[in-house]
Symmetry: C2
Subunit: 302 residues, 2 copies
């Protein structure tokens, strides 16, 4: 199976993170970065994003070294998007201490002719207006997936709902699904989301796994159990990278492909949380991915 190139828009950021196990300052982060570093094991990936003049060149080189096409990452006047977060021992919930949108505040993405020809599009978590501006420029997308966060549900719900109608696969976490749908029960929440357009709704529950809903099926998987979770930042984006990367090989969304893709997403996320920033994903190997996929089978088969 030939893999289609995936075009991904989202944030490329400088993260400052503190967990019970350590802290880092201005490290490479952002939804598009984590997605790209995970998806690249399955398909070629092009990122569309903006960074400021202060963005260290070494971070761009790391993404390039991972084989990610950074031709669509623009450098603009001003400072790079920054996120500062904190995790307690309950690593499931990030506490955002500070978000500075900076150059993303005025970002007007302009896609190259090559990027406009992309068939598979991932709209990583960022302002839904920017997600739509990118999607508008893609000529004939065959598969569109989208993630978001509570901030956009609260501040740009209309824009997000317009986008949802044009999306095949929607990903969010459990509290976002509840907030977006107004339903506490996750089966009802997913039904509300699917009614807005997507064929698939993936609800991420952090250390409690993932639920994958379509109109007539439901797939539930636990997370891969780890003895040491170092930093959960980017887990959802690397899940999306593994998931969409695998799906891109056969984008008909058959139940069999979707379920395997969920496991690959789980595997990529589980590696990502083993260290800060992209450092684990950057040195990950296909053999390690295949190994943990098998481990996951042993963990769950009955």
């Amino acid at each position: 199976m030939k893999s289609e190139r995936i075009l991904a828009v989202g944030s490329v950021a400088l993260d400052s993170v503190e967990t019970p196990f350590g802290k880092v300052k201005d490290t490479l982060g952002g939804s598009a970065s984590f997605f790209g570093a995970a998806a690249r094991f399955f398909a070629p990936v092009s990122l569309v994003a903006v960074v400021g003049e202060d963005f260290p060149k070494k971070h761009l080189r790391l993404l390039e070294k991972c084989g990610v096409d950074i031709g669509g990452i623009e450098t603009a006047r001003g400072k790079t998007f920054r996120w500062r977060g904190f995790y307690d021992y309950d690593l499931n919930n990030a506490r955002t201490l500070k978000t500075e949108l900076n150059v993303f505040q005025s970002f007007k993405p302009r896609l190259s002719p090559e990027h406009r020809a992309s068939r598979i599009v991932f709209l990583a978590n960022i302002d839904p207006d920017i997600q739509r501006a990118v999607l508008d420029q893609v000529r004939n997308p065959s598969l569109v997936a989208c993630d978001t966060m509570n901030y956009w549900i609260e501040h740009k719900k209309k824009s997000l709902l317009k986008l949802l109608a044009r999306v095949d696969i929607f990903l969010c976490n459990d509290s976002e699904a509840r907030e977006l749908s107004g339903e506490y029960n996750l089966i009802k929440a997913a039904r509300g989301i699917l009614a807005r357009g997507p064929r698939l709704a993936l609800i991420k529950k952090g250390e409690h796994g993932v639920l994958c809903f379509s109109q007539n099926s439901l797939f539930s998987v636990p997370a891969y159990l780890l003895e040491k979770i170092f930093d959960p930042t980017g887990a959802g984006d690397s899940f999306a990278g593994g998931f969409l990367g695998y799906v891109s090989k056969s984008p008909n969304l058959s139940e069999r492909v979707v379920r395997r893709a969920v496991i690959y997403g789980t595997v990529l996320a589980s590696y990502n949380v083993e260290s800060f920033s992209l450092s684990r994903l950057a040195r990950l190997t296909p053999a390690e991915i295949a190994g943990r996929y098998k481990e996951f089978q042993k963990l769950t088969r009955f």
Copy 2:
């Protein structure tokens, strides 16, 4: 496979419960009741417990109608054990409003010769001193399982740890595993528990499923997803009933049997939470159990 009789000691209680979906007063509850109503689908069950003079005869008749042997339920002077609890929309956590031990405060179980000959013993959640007093009287047990709760970890840890050394299977929920072991990470918590004696540690995570640990294996399953969870009271005990009931048919604890037993436990618990008290379990059929087991396979296979 012939099923061995299971002897279970635990509480038979009058529960007053309020959930977002309704409330009941002085309904049939207690760890032994829920266990028995679930386990009886797989094996004959005898309960050892005490009730007060105020205990309605209809509750005993219901247990008998379920095919549970109530010969070991003693009626003592005084009032029946009572529990009053409250659940918010997050149905995962019960808030105990009141616990009255009443007749259980001075309960000294005395087993009949027939009960003393039991081979499979379940020590449902109750004072570990009472659990040990029952186990002491069983002549030659081949398989012993035990549940507990935070109250006993906090108030009778020594007694509980002594018991743990004599138990094959230990069940508790995630917060209890953390409290008992002093470890936040559940892999480490389970390792701490297994080091105390049990061959299997089952950590129940409510709506997030179950983890099953032995020295050299780990099994993780999500919960059965329900659109309507009515009342979670007794979910853990009916899980134990389904689990130990299935295991009782081939008590060698092979990996294959244990994993299937975890699914049967999950199925029984999922039915139990569909209504107050034992009402769903009382009218459950073997065909419904088999049906949901198959549904669970569909929900999780990849």
